[in-house]
Amino acid sequence: MATISAVIASTHHPFYLRASTSAGDERPPFADEWVAKITAFRETLTRANPDVLVMVGSDHFHQIWLDNMPQFLVGKAPFYDANYYNEEREFGLPRMFLRGHEELSEYLLRHGLDAGFDLAFSNELRIDHSITCPIITLRPEADLPIVPVYTNIFAPPMPQPSRFVELGKAIRQMVEEWPSEQRVAIIGTGHLSLELGGPRQFGPHGPDPEFDRKAVSWIASSDIKSALAEVSLDSLWQPGNATHGFMDFLLMMGVAGENVQADYVDSLDLFHTMEAYFTWYPNGADAA
């Protein structure tokens, strides 16, 4: 059976690449600290020595559109082009090219469907910064095959928060039962409190530091019960109008397992939104 070498949950901040590579007057004052934190976070994946990456993210209205909106979608393609003109324009993100892992995609689709998740699929998916940001931060070589898993955290009606947890648990079980000798890292990115296109955007901190503090605590201890007791589709508008991205963290808490303390926790309070980084080693940190 396959080995889950790491479970990683993170925010995805599209400005990281530009901030970390800028110099002189262009370099923001927080860049050095941010680079140091990302470098340490990257090591948590490197030491897990994965062969393949399951990447959970959410398309930001790039390829997935309101005329045909899946709630959960698995990519099944030999290759994935990545990043879009408007991400290049706004964030300076480069065009990227990643290999796929069709065998694991097919396995997750078949067994996910059989487990009661009506997963959509795509045989030609151009992925966006919800997946390329963690490639840039965690595996900049972009040398490992991926299985993209997209969730709808963007366009109402969305699935319930509990459904994200359930899908995370199912992904964990399916990967553990995958008849393969490969080492799989499951990586997902979401948001803490976040406002986009509203009056609370681009402030000196995230729009709701109190929510962020609680969210980091829930994630670090994978306290699914407390999180689900406080979070609903309606309540997530309160901390910021894009905070439904927290549901991707809930999915990753499902992957990590209920009440399993993360082996690595870090955060960085930035303008606009808080960054947070979590790694679990289901088979021990030294299993690599």
Binding site: L196, G197, G198, G203, W237
Partner: protein, 120 residues
């Protein structure tokens, strides 16, 4: 009320560099052309297989033609789509980084929760 069509305008313009510039330079003309020629194109279908029923209300058309992101917010356009396109249109006119984004927030500061419903 056609929040979907507002979003479709923002989506199809934002993804096309030529259309972004055209909308910046000639918002009224671009909106009129788009409503006549693009609004009913089904993105995943052959162009001959169009919808027949999509059109803006007068208020929606005026908000787009006026580059009025405050009105678009009030109409329930998806705020991510509006923000992304308007950064592409106007960030270049501001000297300080994020100055446009912060002004954008201030102009929406009369809104408190709950914000306009964005469900389509």
């Amino acid at each position: 009320m056609s929040k979907y069509l507002l979003n479709k305008f923002l989506f199809t313009v934002d993804r096309d560099p030529e259309l972004v510039e055209r909308y910046r330079e000639d918002p009224r003309g671009t909106v009129a052309w788009w409503e006549a020629d693009v609004a009913n194109v089904i993105i995943g279908c052959h162009e001959g297989e169009r919808s027949t029923w999509l059109k803006f209300t007068d208020e929606e058309r005026a908000a787009l033609a006026g580059h009025d992101y405050v009105a678009l917010f009030g109409l329930g356009a998806h705020p991510f789509l509006t923000l992304t396109l308007f950064i592409a249109l106007f960030e270049r006119d501001y000297a300080e980084p994020l100055a446009f984004q912060r002004e954008y927030a201030v102009k929406l500061s009369h809104w408190s929760l709950p914000y306009p419903d964005i469900a389509t």
